[in-house]
Amino acid sequence: MGKSSKDKRDIYYRLAKEEGWRARSAFKLLQIDETFNILKDVKKAVDLCAAPGSWSQVLAKKLDSSNTETKIVAVDLQAMAPLPGVIQIQGDITKKSTAEAIISHFKGEQADLVVCDGAPDVTGLHDIDEYIQSQLLLAALNITTHILKPGGKFVAKIFRGKEVSLLYSQLRIFFDRVTIVKPRSSRNSSIEAFALCEGYNPPAGYEPNMMNPLLENSSVDWSKLDEVNRFVTPFLACGDLSAYDSDRCYPLSFKGKYERKDPVQLPIRPPYADAMNLVTKMGDFHIEHHE
């Protein structure tokens, strides 16, 4: 395959490079904002699972940087190239110490918006991938309950799968409105969608607790889950129809002369970098002795 074949297959991949975004996912947040105005009046925002940083880029661009109250905190398990105006924390958001580090940045303050575009490194076993994704979302929600102001918004990636309705119900306990949105830049064929949660309104008496998993929090009446389960969570495609179709392939010349661009952010050294050099064909092996 040629160097430009990904440009041919994926219009948003190409546009991201042309417009300077670190990843095509930037368009997802932009399209959600286009339809729902989620970034309006936001001063303080948290980007959980931020790497490679395209959502932080969108936040940094859209939030008013001249305002001294503006604060953007980005968290990820992976290292991320620095972004002006963005405070970075490296850590696993399901890990207690990471959550505490995030919360400590908001001593006495509250965030207007929490976003999470994180996904696990998918294994291909859908049961696990969907479960881990739901746990990641719950971990993000748990952190959110510590820092989000009442009425604040939470946008998180979800995998629509077997048990997704349970997840909708869990979100509904904390937010007045939960909508499932699918930006045009997210492929039709993918299981990815976004939960747009508006109007943060935790149950009366809810005390955020970092140690207990959210679902065991005694201040939440989980029996309500069965009731809310009966609701149908609205599903909305967002971004208008004139937006580029992420499933469609466009010719390279569709908007004038094509020039191949390099990705804005080269991938960080992957965990398998060593192995990639040591094992190139069948039968290759290498022993690294320690001590």
Binding site: D92, H126, D127, A139, H290
Partner: protein, 1082 residues
Amino acid sequence: MEAPTFRTSNVSTILDGQDLGEGNLTINEQELSWTSAEIVFKVEYSRIRKYGVFPTTPVVDWQKGLSLICNIEEKDLREIFFLLEDSLTSVLLILFEVVDLDPTISLSTASHPGTQNSSSALIHSSNLKTHVTCLKFIDQFLFSGIGDTLHVFSKGTSDWVSLLSFKACEGKSICFLWYKIAPSKSRIRLLYTLAVQDWVLDCIWLNGEASIAVLTANNSVISYDLLLNAYTLSSTSYCSERCILYSGKLLGNTWDDITVLAGTVFSTIMIWTNDWDSTSVNVIHELEGHKGVIFSITFCELTRRICSTSDDRTVRVWDVESDGPNMLDWKNCSISLKFSLYGHSARVWRNNFLFNGKIVSVGEDSKICLWNNDGILDNQWSGHQNGEIWSLAVSETHELIATGGSDGGISLWPIARAPVPHILKFDSSKAESIPRCVGLTENGSPFMVNSQGAILLHTMGSWQLVMTDSRFSSYCIHSISPNRTFVAFGSICGCILICRTASNSISKLQDMKVCNGRIFSMVWLSDETLVICEADGIFSMWNLSVDSCSLEKSQTFILPFSKERWITSCTANEQYIVCGDRIGSLFLYSKYGGGNPIFCSKRIHGHNGVTDVKLIDGKVYSTGRDGKYREFVIENEELVLVRCLKLKLDWAAAIIETKLLHRLLICFHDVFFVIWSIQERRPILKIDCGGGHRSWDCFINTNDNTISMTYIKGKSIFYCCVPAKNVISHTVVHGSHPKAINAAALVPLAQPHQNQLVILGGEDTTLRLVSVGNNSETQISVLQSHLSSIRAVVCFRSNFQDTVYVASGGGRGQLVLWKFFQSEKNSLLEIIELRSHCVIAPPDKNQEVTHDSAEMRIMDLELYQNSSEILTIAAACSDGMLRLFNYEISTNIINHLEDVDRRHCLLKLIRVEWDTPFLVSACTSGLLVLHCTSSNSTTNQSEKSYSVSNSGINSCDYKLTRDHFVVSCAGDDALVNIIVFALNNEKLDMKYHWKNETAHTCQISGVKMAENWLFTAGLDRSLTIFSWTWADNELKASVLSRYNLCIPDVHGTLVWRRDCDENISVYVHGLGTQLLTFSCDV
């Protein structure tokens, strides 16, 4: 639950160590009692605190103070608790066999969460093929978890056979099953299911405690006490560092000494105990070394080693050192990284210690690596059709490794080092001679001819000189007869020497000059007939008579002129001779039709040549240096290609038929000598031989079940001989598509086939023909013409030709047309490729750049016939174009007719067979467009569109009533739509739009209408059946039944009811396939 009484006599009882003699044991719903002449014991179930972990001895601790010994007369009566661990699938199965108690005295009290509501009794799963996520050897049996089903296999006389299969449980639960395997009757039964709130990573029995401990994905351990007829949560313990785990291992015998080895996503292995006494932190070791997510952790008691595998593609081995000589004290030990082992080329999913401390690892790269205790890679295989390997088990009894893959297959690999050929050394006096050719005799002894013309036989551990013939010193070719009785040598001057090979000798039988020039090649057709090829492509058949000691020429044939004009291979039957040449062509000769070929398949094996050809039962098989294996039938004196296998190996060298392993191909790939099994569709043996060689031989000896091979490398002769069982891998369950099945179509054969035939197109670029039976799915053929993933497949039966045509399409704009071929002579059914066509997107008119074609994918296809000679293909394309093509049957040419620009990626296409047939396309914008087609088969630009929703339509189907067109469609927004259009005068008016928004929670990808039912399947893994009626201008529809599917990533649904079927078959495809039976008459 019905619980009949169980009674047995002659049961011994020991109470507080005192033998009370024999009595009668009675077990019924309420109690257990033991009665002898003097004493009566009654135990109410509610009083029994703990349910024992039964040892394999017949002693059962029912309760403190009371022991029962069942006086066992039959050997197979014994009691065992089984624990079947399966970390990644969440399904933990605990099985036990309760003496000879009928399982109807089951301990079941809880209902099984997998139990469907009553309406689903209408539908049941009859076959499932998907990822094999769990494997375990228990005794001599192999247990496997496939979807929600447990299968038990046992080794039969030659193959592994399925004994039992059982729908066990769905995620996040632990099932307790009773089973009994007996030659006559094997049974399995669910006792109860324990629902766990979290993902289960590991589970162990706590000895003597009659409880289980469960490790969950949120890094906690939960214990449950099992009472006789209930289970209760007893304790929960958390790691002080809460985080998500991808893997973990529980160690210990009691709740207090539990040690957890936890695999995190942040590359650390945390070891923790649930002892909180000393400090607020219960993590006792943190192992750093990996660079990614930890996917598996195991521990070996014997070597006191931990083995972990990761995203970083390594297998890491850690030494646990403790002062204590006996019990390992995890709190007071030091753990250090011993080795990091690199051998995988993708993520490593699982590892297991063997009984001797060796390690086996499997992963995403479909490799199985066997590592010895020093970290050396002892052996490595590649399996599961390049799919992922999810599960792994080892058996000491069978000396086997079992693996389960994403292709739904289960394979077995020998626990043995890879065979290493060794040099057969010469005596120093003969050291300067250079070996010219090498072979193996009747009993597998190597022989050679060297540059001095000496023929040597390797016997009794050294080379023995048989004879020296200087005619063979500068040039020598040889050929061994099929039964290895004779070997013929050919010289530069046209001399032939035929020798007889016996167990320890080679003796001269015949020596003659057959031609003037050099002998180019020789092939034995049988042990009596030798084909000799001389210069100018002349080759002759010679009959060898041992009795009269004669070699007589019978017929002569000639190859057409070419640069390298000699045969490389030859085969014959009573009628025909087929031979292959040095430039890749195959020639068919009539045995009695003169010297010239009657048919030629020019350069079919590429320019590097045909290596072997065999004619067996009227079919011709060939291999070539292009790495392909082909099958032909002879029809009308032509070779008709019916099958082509791309072996994904450098070159195929020979075809051998064996009793032991059926048809095999000898191949060379990179530095490996490979034996490839046609039946298994994969390599079954690889030997590192350093590369392809001028002279080599391989002999599969079915007398002593050994495989021997020899070859010349440099100036040395290498040889090895190994027992077949040490090197050959086996198949328990044959795999199918290793990746998602994107498309499927029913095959409308004219002659009814025993099973329904279905053709499947996959992400792995293969098209597969399968026969779907009630409890089995058999793969008939695999077609490999696509360069990229297949997205669409459609079948069409032409009444003109009485032939079934197939069109398939997918990535890179590739469209392939096929037809079914049914040979007159053979009952075989094959699919023949007619044409492969690349649809190039038309260049943008404003641009000069012509190579600028998009990476277009064909998303859906329709195929129909307009006239006796022309088929029309409609293709829905990802660049927004609906394209029409004509295929001319007589000329085998595809012509592009016209394009309709729909601007959005098209997803589905249906052709409606109305008075004036029309096409309906659906796209990512949620629009249905009806394209009227006129008689000349092109579309009419006056389309009519209808907006169904504002997100993509993934699937649609239709029914025609007298004057209405009822279309059902669904997609990304999870709504099920039924839309009725009135049909009159080519006008299509929307009459009714019915929607359901609660049946599915995720996108719907498979919609099918049959009779008055609508079947919808989606990514929420549920299948919904609606019944619908259209009457009095009103559409009424309601949910009839629902079923939880087992295959993820559903891509589509097929529905059929054949004349002989009582029920409707619903076949769902995605990551695997599932066949369901819908009893519509209930």
